[in-house]
């Protein structure tokens, strides 16, 4: 590789200028100073380059050496990613912690353990012709996930030799007749999307087990959801809960500029939780990128690209991958800080003018695709990203840029959070662009009337809103009985159905069956009591009925047996409310 050596000419926060760097290329990595801090060239002017440095620059001295290697910032992709924890530039944090509880400077450790042995099971043999994405062989990376060794993009030929049994990252697993070698791992530039054959339209929902999302605001597998909300409204809990319970094969969790203790929570909890797909420890399907708020900002900027590159790699194997990013706003702030050090012309709120296009480029890497390779497999990356708008005001640039590209918006609301109504989703401000496309799935897989029930739910919530405006003027007592009944049903829908505690043992994940039967019970109650009202039953009797209390508490019942309970309940409702003379 052509190494270029220059000298430190200037330092300003995370940005370093180096002179005598003639020939250096844009977006290639450098080692900066005696400490060898990792950086990436982000501007070239004559022989002078500007470098964003992924570590704290305090102590860098004028004249210290800068070496450019002419290589882009890459992620190392291969076995050993799962259950690992990385910083934003893929340094393995468990290994880093062997030298102390604090992260020192200039630490360089490979993202994967090249010496670790894996029992390689070849799927191809000498003489086979292979192309990009073809699966050469596989082995269990963790108990729950099979790692598929793929021919890297751009490589094809005829196999001359292929290994069997114990292999490591040190030597090739496969040699082609033209002498090209294929190793257990690939290196891929994080800022370049990995290739695929074609994108597929959304057809299936990404199942979260959270009623307000699955029923009211679903996201498709391969879709994107943005979760904006002021501080303490529950963004992180949403990300954690989905990472725990979502029906997905792999989870990439990016803690981007957020709290250290939240990462610790994930790290200590996940090994003791069960993967809902396999029943095995949850960490076996998870890769964590932890670049907390006190870690260097430039590495924070890189973290989401490192994360999505790893996500694409598992997608390419044919897995359904969920990428959780908490929070995209912190990424945008990192971008802003670097941009302002470059003295670029700022746009709205000091963000650089390219904020929206960068962000768009990131969200575009989500999707369900036909993978490279000859076996016709599909894979997907679903992105759910938290947004932290200043002052909880959604009119700011990061929220707005995300809104334009996200397929679902789950807007969290401070007032609801204050009342401890969680998930604090403001259903009115939120939307899902996937709903229509997913309707046939709901009708087929859940129940023929699921879509109708969902519409009734949305209408009920809307009606409540309208009635509340009337109440503001004339008071509840002045409403008609049927309207007061509607308000009662809406309360049950909000408190009994939409509210869902992430910390409840029985209710943290609600199956579609449970969601459906909850709705059935609620509307059976509403319909029957309307009829009862018409036939002369007093409103008070309905409101004070123990049935109402049962409905408000039904969420605490577990998924198993819920349907039986609900059918029984509906029977009771009809008996009690409709059999009155």
């Amino acid at each position: 590789m052509d190494e270029i050596r220059g000298k430190i000419y200037g330092v300003s926060g995370p940005v370093v200028m180096a002179s005598s760097m003639k020939g250096a290329k844009m977006h290639t990595t450098c080692h900066v100073g005696y400490a060898g801090l990792l950086g990436e060239i982000i501007r070239i002017e004559g022989d002078m380059v500007t470098i964003q440095v992924y570590e704290d620059t305090t102590g860098l001295t004028l004249g210290e050496e800068v070496i450019s290697f002419g290589r882009p910032l890459t992620a190392m992709l291969g076995p050993g990613l799962l259950s690992n924890v990385y910083d934003g530039i893929q340094r393995p944090l468990y290994i880093v912690s062997e030298s102390g509880a604090y992260i020192g400077k200039g630490i360089r450790i490979e993202g994967l353990d090249l010496d670790r042995k894996w029992g390689f099971n070849p799927h191809k043999k000498a003489g086979d012709e292979v192309g990009p994405g073809d699966i050469l062989g596989s082995f269990a990376e963790t108990e729950s996930i099979t790692h598929k060794v793929m021919v890297p993009p751009g490589v094809k030929g005829v196999i001359k030799e292929i290994s069997k049994g114990s292999v490591s990252g040190r030597s090739p697993v496969c040699v082609l007749t033209d002498g090209k070698t294929i190793r257990l791992f690939q290196e891929w530039p994080v800022r370049v999307p990995r290739p695929f054959k074609s994108k597929l339209p959304p057809t299936d929902p990404f199942v979260t087990g959270q009623r307000v999302f699955d029923t009211l605001l679903p996201i498709a597998e391969g879709g994107t959801a943005a979760v904006p909300g002021g501080f303490g409204t529950g963004k992180t809990v949403v990300e954690h809960t989905i990472a725990k319970y979502a029906r997905t094969d792999i989870v990439i969790y990016i803690g981007c500029g957020e709290r250290g203790n939240e990462m610790t929570e994930v790290l200590t909890e996940f090994p003791h939780l069960k993967d809902p797909m396999t029943g095995l420890p949850l960490n076996m399907r998870t890769v964590i990128i932890a670049n907390t708020s006190n870690m260097p900002v430039a590495a924070r900027e890189a973290s989401i690209f490192t994360g999505i590159t790893i996500a694409e790699y598992f997608r390419d194997m044919g897995y359904r991958v969920a990428l959780m990013a908490d929070s995209i706003s912190r990424w945008a702030e990192a971008l802003r800080e670097i941009s302002s050090r470059l003295e670029e012309m700022p746009s709205e709120e000091g963000f650089p003018p390219y904020l929206a296009s960068r962000l768009g480029g990131f969200y575009e890497r989500a999707g369900k695709v036909n993978c490279l390779g000859n076996d016709g497999r599909t894979g997907s990356v679903t992105v759910i990203s938290a947004i932290s708008p200043p002052g909880g005001d959604f009119s700011e640039p990061v929220t707005q840029a995300s809104l334009r590209v996200a397929g679902a918006l789950w807007a969290l609301d401070t007032e609801l959070a204050y009342a401890r109504h969680f998930p604090a989703v403001n259903w009115k401000r939120s939307f899902s662009l996937y709903y229509k496309k997913l309707s046939s799935w709901f009708e087929r897989e859940v129940a023929p009337d699921m879509v109708e029930l969902r519409s009734r739910l949305a209408a009920l919530l809307q009606k409540e809103e309208d009635l509340n405006e009337v109440v503001q003027v004339i008071g509840v007592e002045a409403l008609q009985d049927s309207d007061r009944l509607t308000l009662e049903a809406a309360t049950i829908a909000r408190e009994g159905f939409l509210r869902q505690s992430a910390f409840s043992e029985t209710d943290a994940f609600a199956s579609f069956e449970k969601q459906y039967w909850m709705l059935k019970a609620i509307f059976s109650f509403l319909d029957s009591s309307m009829k009862a009202l018409e036939s002369g039953v007093y409103l008070e009797r309905i409101i004070e009925s123990p049935l109402r209390t049962s409905l408000l508490r039904m969420q605490n019942l577990s998924n198993e047996g819920f349907r039986e309970w609900a059918e029984d309940m509906i029977g009771k409702i009809e008996k009690e409310l409709l059999s009155v003379e």
């Binding site: 944090l93 992260i103 500029g257």
Partner: protein, 447 residues
């Protein structure tokens, strides 16, 4: 080491606390400098930016009185450090770490970089040790645990200092040998400084308190260093000496204003309401120093106090703080006017680490459900109170009136406990008792 001393007499300009120097041959980012004035006075400077042979140096004591032609800058080859030792206990220092209690300088056991290093997330221990503060709204509804960062959002004229002192006085465990307090004050008045000193003396913890005090009349730039020195000292006591350290930082608003002043002197592009765009990251590098470490006895709990400008919780100072800390305790002028002490506005309060600190074996089984129920019922009471303000009491149902009465009692008795110290059992029992005002079918969240 620098064998050749570097002394630059090439100041080209001065603005605010910043000095611009040319002809620098060697210099490091963040390096400390001696600013030698013609009056034989020396000040302390720090290199903020280097470009070619030009450097921007910020002067801790401020630049007033600096003569461009007669002042020289001497880089020391060191980044900002603080000398720490066990002898700091009971001592009072200024905002840059020099003793102001008329006692001799301490002999440092070691010198530590005040910026510290980021704690590796995998080395953190999940905080889970419940601290009983004796305050119902905190213990019952927004439980504090060791290793948490929990700020108090105050407003001008509200008794935040009193509340913090009450917590220091009452907190169970505060009398233990391994408990200590680090007090970092930025831009407080001498009256406040006196009040704190007296208050801490009353708690009997003075001999286990280290104070760093930057007064309102002290240089602004120093405020940038004070919390860092305080937290570096805290790390030394917690993770090298095994103490349970409680760090009180006040007033973070003065700290943020100092950041803004520096930013504008540097002609940076300002972010929201002219505070620097990097304020989130800057505050995070302070607050994230709270925590517990695997295999270490000690812990750092941080209680920052800030004043919300114009009582506005969406102002960047409380807003960014809330985005970093693990919850917040919010004081309100309304409650204060009603004569309720502590004047806590319970609804926007939060403790994110509560769940791991409570429950069976820690506080009591059903604590979570009880807290949720109290919150939901109080929120409903407040909602009805707002409605009444618009439509009057006529349209209210019987149930609505009960909720109104509940909200009043809750504020008067549960929140407004005065100087009393309540055990967690007393707090939870009172909560249950208050809920009895409501019909049972309304208590949806209780098991």
């Amino acid at each position: 080491m620098d064998l050749i001393s570097r002394e630059y007499r090439t100041i080209t300009g001065i603005t605010g606390p910043l000095v611009f120097v040319e002809g620098i041959k060697r210099g490091s980012f963040g390096e400390m400098c001696i600013v030698k004035m013609d009056t034989a006075e020396t000040r302390t400077g720090q290199i903020l930016k280097l470009e070619g042979d030009k450097a921007v140096v910020q002067v801790l004591e401020g630049a007033s009185g600096i003569d461009r032609d007669k002042t020289s800058i001497i880089p020391t080859g060191e980044v900002a450090k603080v000398g720490v030792s066990m002898d700091m206990m009971g001592r009072i220092f200024n905002g840059s770490g020099f003793p102001i209690d008329a006692l001799p300088e301490i002999i440092p056991e070691k010198n530590l970089d005040i910026n510290g290093l980021p704690m590796n997330p995998v080395a953190r221990e999940k905080p889970n040790y419940f601290i009983e503060t004796g305050i119902s709204v905190i213990d019952g509804l927004n439980t504090l645990v060791r290793g948490q960062k929990l700020p108090i959002f105050s407003s001008a004229g509200l008794p935040a200092n009193e509340l913090v002192l009450q917590i220091l006085r009452q907190a169970r465990g505060a009398e233990e040998e391994d408990f200590c307090v680090i007090f970092g004050a930025m831009g407080i008045t001498s009256r406040e400084a006196f009040f704190f000193r007296e208050g801490i003396e009353e708690t009997g913890a003075m001999s286990r308190t280290v104070s760093f005090i930057n007064l309102a009349s002290d240089p602004t730039v120093e405020r940038f260093f004070t919390p860092r020195i305080a937290l570096t000292t805290a790390e030394y006591f917690a993770f090298e000496k095994g103490f349970q350290v409680m760090v009180v930082l006040t007033d973070m608003t003065a700290y943020c204003e100092a950041l803004r002043e520096l930013g504008s002197a540097r002609e940076e592009i300002p972010g929201r309401r002219s505070y620097p765009g990097y304020m989130y990251t800057d505050l995070a590098t302070l607050y994230e120093r709270a925590g517990c470490i695997k295999g270490s006895q000690g812990s750092i709990t941080i209680m920052p106090i800030l004043t919300m400008p114009e009582d506005d919780i969406t102002h960047p100072i409380p807003d960014l703080t809330g985005y970093i800390t693990e919850g917040q305790i919010v004081l309100s002028r309304d409650m204060h006017m009603k004569g309720i002490y502590p004047p806590i506005n319970a609804l926007p309060c939060l403790s994110r680490l509560m769940n791991i600190g409570i429950g069976k074996g820690r506080t009591r089984e059903g604590h979570r459900e009880l807290a949720d129920q109290l919150y939901a019922s109080y929120a409903k009471g407040i909602h009805i109170r707002r409605l009444v303000a618009i439509v009057g009491e006529e349209g209210l149902t019987e149930l609505d009136r009960t909720y109104l009465a509940f909200a009043d009692e809750f504020e008067k008795r549960f929140i407004g406990q005065g100087e009393e110290r309540r055990t967690i059992d007393e707090t939870l029992d009172l909560g249950l008792e208050l809920l009895k005002m409501l019909p049972e079918r309304e208590l949806k969240r209780l098991k």
